[in-house]
């Protein structure tokens, strides 16, 4: 993906952020205003995307739902990312038995089924926005820990790390100054790719009633409400579904682009110089 095509998912993502931030201005109605007289109206007319079983405006609810999706996804990526990177770097830097024990723990956490843990967390802490973030971070930090671990091991073998050690620099300094800058780019790539997944996970939890509680609008809960009317009122499930789909697609495309840019080994684009030689080769008679 080149720079220009990378702009499209970026623009889509920015659009979602704008929708989330300015939701009260953009939404035509109060997302929670119940008007039973206007229930299950099809799209068009006074309500662009129709109304749900309680007569609430679907467009307004989808716009407000963006807030929950982005907040949870960003929160989960940040908490999980920071914690995972810290664990991975420590394990990689210390190495030896401590590192091995930490990384086996990471393997254990990775093997815990996500929804089982989610149900456990909700059962213990109760369903809330914060607990959804905690739950997602708890499940996903090992991803970051793994890549941070291998990037740290790589950085540790770099000449300038040995050189810095030889100048008598303390370990924390070397880690912050020389190791972390090598680790962060990979962690950012993982974070971008995780973003889409976190959106899906949040919607799944809310769909199951383990996430944000009604009447707060979340794509997952709108979908869940609409599920009963799927045969008669398709718009209830379709629009939050489309919003979810487009956001996840944009996040994934951006993640791929970020990986391509930061990881030369996985670069899909042919470097300019080589393109030139290929053209030259083609010009030569076969």
């Amino acid at each position: 993906m080149n720079r220009r095509t990378m702009l499209i998912p970026l623009a889509v993502l920015v659009m979602y952020v704008v929708a989330a931030v300015f939701a009260p201005l953009l939404a035509p109605d109060d997302p929670n205003a119940v008007t039973l007289a206007r229930r299950l109206l099809p799209p068009g007319g006074g309500h662009l995307l129709g109304t749900d079983a309680l007569g609430r405006d679907v467009l307004s609810r989808v716009i407000f739902g963006t807030r929950i999706s982005l907040l949870v996804a960003a929160g989960a990526v940040l908490t999980g990312g920071v914690f995972g990177v810290a664990v991975g770097v420590i394990a990689g830097w210390r190495g030896g038995r401590i590192g091995a024990v930490i990384m086996r723990l990471v393997d254990v956490v990775l093997s815990v089924p996500f929804f089982l843990l989610a149900i456990l967390v909700v059962a213990v802490l109760g369903p809330s926005l914060l607990n959804v973030v905690v739950c997602l971070a708890l499940v996903r930090w090992p991803r970051y820990a793994r890549v941070a671990h291998s990037a740290t091991l790589q950085a540790r073998g770099r000449g300038f790390v040995t050189a810095a050690t030889a100048t008598g620099a303390p370990a924390w300094w070397i880690v912050l100054r020389h190791v972390l800058p090598e680790v962060l780019p990979v962690a950012i790539v993982v974070g971008t790719l995780e973003l889409g997944l976190m959106v899906i996970y949040e919607a799944s939890l809310s769909f199951l009633g383990l996430g944000v509680q009604p009447p707060t609008a979340s794509w997952g809960s709108i979908l869940s409400d609409g599920q009963q009317y799927i045969a008669s009122a398709w718009w209830l499930a379709a629009f939050p579904g489309i919003a979810l789909f487009v956001l996840v697609l944009a996040a994934n495309l951006l993640g791929d682009a970020a990986r391509d840019r930061l990881d030369p080994a996985k670069r899909t684009e042919i470097p300019k110089a080589r393109r030139g030689t290929r053209r030259q080769a083609r010009r030569q008679p076969a």
Binding site: G159, F160, T162, A163, T165, A166, T167, G168, A169, R177
Partner: protein, 322 residues
């Protein structure tokens, strides 16, 4: 008076008896430059790294290395940190990989100063520029703001030298500091090192006999993780006693006497790390080996060999080689 650095029976073991350094004995006096020569894999770099506790993970260091009478082997990270860069500095072979490619060179020197001096932040960068000037970098104020890749190899090594000498260490370890450089640049860097280390002891690791003649006061020849011969530069280069040293010197081409046919080389190979060596490690490749060589010789009177070349024999051997 004790020597500045006194290494005795230093061993580096990669576990289950896989020894790469098999009992090195070496002394470096104050202000003296000692060259350690040997083929690749003879353990010369590892010996140097072990002194500063920089041996790779999984390596066990035993024996003794005393700096000014204080033991270095077995020190904890905290104590080592007080010695590294402050009392003992090291310059590595490749200055490009020793510098962080994402940071301006001046900043990197300033960071070194932050560790070892109480200087203020604003003073550090100025001091870094002065250090760069002291190692002969022209336009130092501009150069200090450049990235490592914008500097030439020689200049990068000058930067490393300035960092290594910034805290006025007692001992400088130079691990093949000129190997990655062009020959002309090599001569300049050697001259710089010689000039800037008049009062500093230097442990100079190299495989280049020409460099040895250029810079060292004394030489230690290493083979298979041991010192097989030591002496002053004159003694060792002109009258090598150990057959290995003699063979090594013969394999250096002489520009005044172009070689006809093949370059002289030493048959066979260095024993691999961990290979069990019984007796003299050089005996399988040695033209003088006999039954006596099945027991290991000890370093006595500057040479570890049962059948060292004496003066007359060396002359004869040299004649043969011609």
């Amino acid at each position: 008076m004790t020597e500045l650095l006194d290494i005795e029976d230093l061993r580096v073991d990669f576990g289950t008896g896989r020894e790469a350094v098999r009992g090195v004995d070496l002394r470096v006096g104050r202000g003296e430059t000692v060259a350690v020569v040997g083929e690749s894999g003879c353990g010369k770099s590892l010996t140097a790294l072990a002194l500063l506790g920089l041996a790779p993970d999984g390596a066990r260091v035993s024996g003794s290395a005393r700096l000014d009478g204080a033991e270095l082997v077995g020190l904890g990270e905290r104590e080592l940190r007080g010695i590294r860069g402050d009392r003992v500095s090291i310059i590595f072979q490749d200055p490009m990989s020793s510098l962080n490619p994402t940071t301006r060179v001046g900043t990197q020197i300033a960071e070194m100063l932050a560790i070892h001096t109480p200087m203020r932040r604003s003073a550090r960068f100025r001091a870094a520029v002065e250090l760069m000037e002291s190692v002969g970098i022209t336009d130092a104020p501009e150069r200090a703001r450049q990235m490592p890749h914008e500097l030439s190899g020689g200049m990068r090594q000058r930067v490393m030298i300035s960092m290594a000498l910034a805290a006025r260490p007692d001992l400088l370890i130079a691990d093949e500091p000129t190997t990655a450089l062009d020959v002309t640049v090599q001569a300049q860097v050697l001259a710089l090192l010689r000039e800037r280390t008049r009062d500093t002891a230097v442990l100079f690791i190299t495989h280049d006999m020409g460099v040895v003649a250029e810079i060292a006061d004394r030489v230690a020849v290493m083979y298979a993780g041991r010192v097989v011969e030591t002496g002053t530069v004159r003694e060792v280069l002109e009258k090598p006693q150990h057959p290995y040293t003699a063979a090594l010197l013969r394999s250096v081409p002489d520009p005044d006497r172009p070689v006809s046919g093949e370059l002289p080389s030493i048959p066979g190979q260095v024993p691999a790390v961990g290979e069990v060596v019984e007796g003299c490690p050089f005996s399988p490749r040695c033209p003088r080996a006999d039954d006596a060589c099945t027991t290991a010789p000890v370093l006595e009177a500057g040479v570890a060999c049962w059948h060292p070349h004496t003066d007359a024999q060396t002359e004869a051997g040299a004649e043969d080689a011609r």
